[in-house]
């Protein structure tokens, strides 16, 4: 699993787009907040995960690269959300 899914619960405002775009990993609780059922993201889901992260209006959804944990350091390197322009994809 090359990447990991994480929610910034402070930034999250329960817009719910992430659950629409990545239902394989994200469900919504009774108040509309994301429930990550499994935080692992492999290559096949990476594009979808990145799109879901871009769609979040408040950047609460994060797709992070997993790195080796070094003692005394945060164990996950935080990749910025994908640099794709937000409106490049036209909805089908």
């Amino acid at each position: 699993m090359s990447h990991r899914l994480r929610v910034n619960p402070i930034a999250c405002e329960a817009h719910g787009m992430c659950a629409e775009l990545l239902p394989e990993r994200i469900a919504l609780d009774e108040w509309g907040y994301p429930l990550i059922t499994d935080d692992s993201i492999d290559r096949s889901l990476l594009d979808h995960a990145r799109r879901a992260a871009q769609a979040c209006p408040t950047f609460a959804l994060l797709v992070e690269r997993r790195v080796e944990a070094k003692p005394g350091r945060s164990s996950v390197k935080r990749a910025p959300p994908s640099g794709d322009s937000p409106a490049v994809t036209i909805p089908p």
Binding site: M17, A55, A87, P91
Partner: protein, 239 residues
């Protein structure tokens, strides 16, 4: 009629700039409406949240495309003396300086909104959001620009388009302001008040202004062009 044909080359740009301007205004109106739907979390099973959001983003970009076309064709058009500087710097032009300048102001605001939105990931959410509010300011300025600068104001198509756009934006602003109640009482009150004042202003200004007589001269069209423009007004008024 013969005068119009004599200036056929430049009038292509003239028609293009007016039409792309109208389309840009319409698209901007729809983008604002979609933005309000987005913020109010509108969704149905056939129109999930991400569709409304992506539509908003795409329609906004399309509006900018038409806006740029509108600007390029207006600069290229040789009829009215609009230079590249007038595009960005308001009120320094020689053709209807005030009303054209409003266009430049609106464009500057929309440029800021567009660039920050394309670079969203690199800037903080709060700064992005603060700048995004400028869209509400850019729209009435764009409308006034269109009504004051355009030479088709008295024609029915532009009037109808303007009325439709005003109606859509009024509804959108009201919907947005209401969603802010009761926590943001003051902000919502200001928004509704501003919308009311603006509507009143239009009702009072339009008849004596762009819809009144000799608007071309009063709005600052250079006298050298006045002969031509009065002919074209008569022509278009005949449609």
């Amino acid at each position: 009629m013969s005068v119009t044909l004599a200036t056929a080359g430049s009038s292509t740009y003239w028609y293009l700039t007016r039409s792309t301007g109208a389309v840009a205004l319409l698209l901007l109106t729809i983008a604002i409406a979609l933005g309000v739907l987005d913020v109010r979390r509108f969704s149905t099973p056939r129109w999930p949240r991400f569709i409304v959001d992506t539509l908003h983003r795409n329609v906004s970009l399309l509006a900018m495309v038409f806006l740029v076309l509108h600007i390029i064709t207006s600069v290229l058009d040789s009829f009215a003396p609009i230079s590249l500087i007038d595009v960005f710097v308001p009120f320094v032009g020689s053709y209807r300086p005030f009303w054209l300048g409003l266009g430049a102001v609106s464009f500057d605001l929309l440029l800021a909104v567009t660039i920050t939105s394309l670079l969203r990931q690199r800037m903080g959410y709060r700064s992005w959001r603060a700048i995004h509010w400028l869209t509400y300011a850019s729209w009435p300025i764009a409308l006034l620009h269109g009504l004051g600068t355009g030479s088709d104001v008295k024609s029915s198509w532009l009037l109808i388009l303007s009325i439709v756009c005003i109606a859509i934006v009024l509804v959108a602003v009201l919907a947005r302001a209401i969603s802010g109640l009761p926590e943001h009482l003051r902000g919502s009150g200001v928004a509704i008040g501003a919308a009311g004042v603006f509507s009143l202003f239009l009702l009072l200004w339009l008849p004596g202004g762009p819809l009144g007589s000799e608007w071309a001269r009063r709005s600052g069209t250079p006298t050298s062009l006045l002969g031509h423009s009065s002919t074209t007004t008569t022509t278009s008024a005949g449609h």
